[in-house]
Symmetry: C2
Subunit: 190 residues, 2 copies
């Protein structure tokens, strides 16, 4: 594995174990047993490391439009993958707004991706209507469900935290359950 | 108005205009034209100021159990008041998790209050069932609706921000609309 990749993995480990503020590039270098100069040869600053971690996370999680779930069962399979990715990059979700406020470039990137994410969730929900799993929805209902699912994806782990429920591999199932409850209210009863 | 109160109001103004990290106690003192020593006579540190702002916000927003909304119309009236309070203390919602991570005392306080808040929302929803505005709910549905409403209250303004929608006095209505959409799915159709 390359030195550049080593640094990225070490940073991810350290960010997840505490938070990004506690971990300077000097800490990351020292934890790897390399000099700060060596780290800065690969990365200009901490923001560059965080942006690369974000872009890796995005690559691991994104589906092409043709692969978007056609049924709620497929959505649940996809959510299991996403939950694992959210756990792997958990520092990012924990600090989301703070990180965006610290780096204008990350802020633009994330918001653009997120607006696309919103559209892709909407397409998935329309798929569930087409496959007769959900009843026909008016525009407001479609907007509401899409917002609810994206809100859950971005902030449900934080929400659990504010109720003193630790978000870990076991409780992450609650995020999937909540998403299913959103959809349940619009399901065609069999 | 007392000096102690002046400092609190100035801090709130400065926190809302940027964020808490950019504003040291020295900045707050200088903005008021007083010495740092004078500020520290009233407040030990920034955390103490933030905790007092939080406790004021709580006092302004809390309802006694007997005053909890009995109908969805009463909920909407209460939400209008809450939205104004959320706007007044907007820095707090914007930085929620970051502030909790910075101050263990605030963290315990907030989580305890939030768990109570969860219970109070649950009682309100049961009121709507009693007043025949919502259909009978099973335990999972009641938990789901309560979590959804609290999630919306805590993070909907942040969610809008991640979609590049500025949260202001005008868009705050979206938080009320979203809350109503959560309940709509369980309404008894007339």
């Amino acid at each position: 594995m390359s030195r550049k990749k080593d640094i990225l993995n070490e940073a991810l480990k350290l960010f997840n174990s505490t938070n990004t503020q506690c971990q300077s590039t000097n800490h990351i270098a020292s934890s790897l047993g390399i000099s700060p100069g060596n780290l800065h040869y690969h990365y200009k600053n901490k923001e560059e490391i965080i942006r690369l971690l974000y872009s890796n996370m995005k690559e691991e999680s994104i589906l092409s439009v043709s692969d978007l779930p056609k049924t709620i069962e497929q959505l649940n399979e996809h959510l299991k993958v996403l939950i694992a990715i959210q756990w792997k990059y958990r520092f990012f979700f924990k600090e989301l707004l703070f990180l965006l406020s610290k780096d204008k470039q990350l802020d633009s990137l994330y918001k653009e991706d997120n607006i696309n994410h919103f559209q892709r969730i909407k397409i998935s929900i329309e798929n569930f209507v087409d496959s007769k799993q959900l009843r026909n929805l008016n525009i407001e209902e479609l907007e509401y469900i899409t917002n609810s699912i994206l809100l859950t994806w971005q902030f449900y782990s934080s929400h659990l935290q504010t109720l003193n429920i630790k978000f870990d591999k076991n409780t992450s199932i609650k995020l999937i359950e909540h998403t299913n409850s959103i959809l349940n209210a619009f399901k065609i009863k069999e």
